[in-house]
């Protein structure tokens, strides 16, 4: 389970009402009636205390490059989700199963950005039990229908909703304000996601396609590193090389689990291989967490 669900409900409510007042979503009715809650201090306060300094032209260029990439990924996400939800609505179980994991990958690559946009993450990526049953929607609900209950006959509404949420995310990423601090922490968050729920095989409990998410999260972190690499090199060349080497080392651990265009199922991965993946991940995350060095002074 990813850490995004840990913060108290008040933060979710506040986050969503802020977001909604900004974009006037059709969902507003639900949250507006709720009483004002305590400020989501666990999100707001640290940001205020350690706000990143204004970005240098070079870092701003990195941010712009990353944002462009996020938009491309979200474009792809809309397209792939549409194909997937169409298959669900058409009742084509086999096709939907094939499309499920690859279509999610675009989302997994940009997850920290989606998280920063309020409720999108629970809408798109909540697993059963993460949210109240009557609010559960998104990819994992369809996953359960496809693999567990083995019927998508009544999933049309869920499919429509998912596509709508993804399209709305696409609109939002245009205007999301990304700063360097977000990038630096976002890269580590992606690996933390892997470490918490993907490497343990808890993310895709019905489809067992955890390795797709694993790889996509790592690719997302790698993209952040790529756009920041020059800055990291300028500050600490050894650190940049270490990060690069460990991305390669992790890729070598992932390689045996590739199969065709995708990945083997989680239950085909042996226990000692899981350990190796996890240790290679930790080896990468440790130096990656030091990218904040580019923000010094």
């Amino acid at each position: 389970m990813s850490k995004k669900w840990v913060y108290p409900l008040s933060a979710v409510v506040l986050g969503s009402s802020l977001m909604l007042s900004a974009c006037g979503s059709p969902e507003t009715g639900k949250t507006e009636t709720k009483p004002a809650e305590q400020p989501a201090s666990n999100q707001a306060a640290p940001a205020a205390a350690t706000a990143a300094p204004a970005a240098s032209p070079e870092l701003q260029a990195s941010i712009d490059q990353y944002q462009k990439w996020v938009i491309e990924q979200t474009d792809q996400l809309v397209k792939s989700t549409e194909e997937f939800t169409n298959a669900v609505k058409a009742g084509d179980m086999e096709k939907a199963k094939q499309l499920y994991a690859p279509s999610r990958a675009y989302y997994e690559r940009i997850e920290p950005i989606a998280e920063s946009l309020g409720d999108f993450d629970p809408w798109i990526d909540a697993r059963e039990g993460d949210v109240p049953d009557n609010e559960w929607r998104g990819y994992h609900k369809l996953e359960k229908a496809l693999w567990e209950t083995k019927s998508v006959a009544d999933q049309g509404k869920v499919a429509d909703q998912l596509l709508q949420d993804v399209k709305q995310l696409r609109v939002k990423v245009e205007s999301v304000e990304i700063d360097v601090k977000m990038l630096v922490t976002g890269a580590v968050e992606l690996l933390n996601e892997v470490s918490t729920s993907k490497v343990t095989g808890e993310e895709e409990r019905y489809s067992r396609t955890d390795m797709y998410d694993f790889a996509a999260n790592v690719e997302g972190a790698n993209e952040i590193f790529k756009v920041l690499k020059t800055s990291v090199e300028a500050k600490d060349a050894a650190l940049a090389k270490e990060i690069e080497d460990r991305f390669k080392a992790l890729d070598q651990e992932i390689a045996p689990h590739r199969k065709g265009d995708g990945y083997v199922l989680y239950n085909e991965i042996k226990e000692d291989q899981v350990k190796k993946l996890s240790q290679a991940l930790d080896a990468l995350a440790e130096p990656l967490s030091k990218m904040g060095t580019i923000l010094e002074g």
Binding site: E242, D245, S289, G292, T293, E296
Partner: protein, 427 residues
């Protein structure tokens, strides 16, 4: 005094001298808030805490890291151990050397109760030190490094330097070794009079190792604390018996040289000042032991449970008279008892430095997973540990109640001098 300075002092840990300086500046009262009282006010123990040697420093004191020998070998036993074995993932010897250099610097600092390294003031970076020992006294923490036989395989070109005494241990009767508790390229033994201080050190060394080495196994252990037994009597194992009565008096240099330290005349020369460490994770069949009679228990060890005296004697340190017979002509101390066999006719000795462990329960059976983290040091295991263990494994009455589930033999490196690093005589 400004708060910043006070924080610095609290973070850096108070040495006795710092405390005196501080007292001069702001008065000792200020110290209470700084969390450094332990180092200043800790009383000396009533007596040394181990029979092996005298312990010259206070409970919270510093055992020097640098020296001819590594600390943590003949050092009087601390209360807690946290031990881990690593497997190298680095493939170049240069990276291994770098790791040992970083480890040496970090271990030396942590031994003094300092953070693993100076903190950065960049708020966007994770703290350099994990922080759980900030404000804590050094607690006689020692870090001891050793190399397993696998360190000398083909990877680093060191095969020709493998010490002859670093053999592959033979299979002993009653071994039930588990892969997850056996072997390792490198072992790190951390001992301290505080479990958090010990864990902190191993954790930070593991963090430094990321990308170069991964943990293979970790086991922590304990013995009765100095606070529970200020008289420093021989500790008891989890079977309730005094354990370590016959340990050699390695506080005498001639004894330590004879039994523990590899000498320059030994092969290889680069090991001079080092030793050979054996680790055995020995699980006790606690539930079975607890339902065996006092007679059985005492005959198993060959000692009286309460006093620790050899059977038939009254004092713990009374001589073992193994040929003494009772009225029926049977030995008073059974020939297959643990002390009778381990005695080796008084000719073979090792330095034992074991701790009890308790690792929750065996999920399969619901029984306690507890026992002895046996650690011993010897100059040449081929002549000391191995023959002793062969004898014990073949016949010891104790075998009914124990299983060896983990094992390792490590070349415990010579000490490093300041400016050098652990392992610099080898690579």
């Amino acid at each position: 005094m400004d708060t910043k300075r006070l924080e610095n002092i609290a973070n850096k840990k108070l040495t006795r001298r710092d405390a005196l300086k501080l007292a001069g500046v702001g008065g000792l009262g200020l110290l209470v808030g700084a969390g450094g009282m332990g180092a200043v006010m800790m009383p000396k123990p009533a007596s040394s805490n181990a029979a092996t040697s005298t312990d010259s420093d206070a409970v919270g004191g510093i055992v020097p890291f640098y020296g001819k020998h590594q600390a943590g070998v003949i050092t009087p036993m601390q209360d807690f151990i946290c031990m881990g074995a690593f497997d190298l993932t680095a493939t170049a010897l240069a990276d291994v050397r770098k790791l040992f250099q970083s480890w040496t610097a970090a271990a030396a600092r942590m031994t003094e109760g300092k953070n693993v390294d100076d903190e950065s003031d960049n708020p966007h970076l994770p703290p350099v030190d994990t922080g759980e020992s900030m404000g804590l006294a050094p607690m006689r923490m020692t870090v001891t490094f050793g190399l397993g036989a696998s360190f000398f395989d083909e990877r680093f070109g060191l095969a020709s330097k493998r010490p002859a005494p670093l053999v592959d241990l033979p299979h002993f009767n009653s071994d039930d070794l588990r892969k997850e508790w056996t072997g390792g390229d490198i072992v790190v033994q951390v001992c301290a009079n505080d479990p958090q201080v010990a864990f902190h050190a191993l954790r930070n060394l593991a963090r430094i190792a990321r990308g170069k080495a991964v943990l293979r196994w970790v086991q922590d252990g304990f013995q009765r604390t100095n606070a529970a037994d200020p008289t420093g009597s021989t500790p008891r194992n989890l079977m309730g018996f005094k354990d370590g009565t016959n340990n050699p008096k390695v506080s005498e240099p001639a004894v330590a040289d004879e039994i523990v330290w590899a000498q320059s005349s030994d092969d290889p020369a680069w090991m001079a000042g080092g030793s050979y460490m054996v680790m055995r994770r020995i699980r006790m069949r606690i539930e079975i032991w607890d339902r065996s009679s006092l007679d059985d228990q005492e005959n198993t060890f060959g000692r009286h449970r309460l006093s620790g005296a050899p059977l038939g004697k009254t004092g713990e340190f009374d001589d073992l008279e193994l040929d003494r017979k009772d009225g029926q002509g049977k030995p008073v101390i059974p020939a297959a008892s643990h002390v009778a066999l381990a005695n080796m006719d008084g000719k073979v000795k090792i330095l034992r430095r074991g701790y009890s462990y308790s690792s929750g329960m065996d999920l399969k059976t619901g029984q306690l997973d507890a026992g002895l983290l046996f650690v011993c040091f010897n100059r040449d295991p081929r002549k000391q540990f191995i023959p002793m263990q062969q004898k014990l494994a073949a016949a010891d009455l104790l075998n009914e109640y124990i299983t060896h589930v983990g094992s390792g033999l490590f070349a415990c490196l010579p000490g490093a001098s300041e400016g050098g690093y652990i392992g610099d005589t080898l690579f």
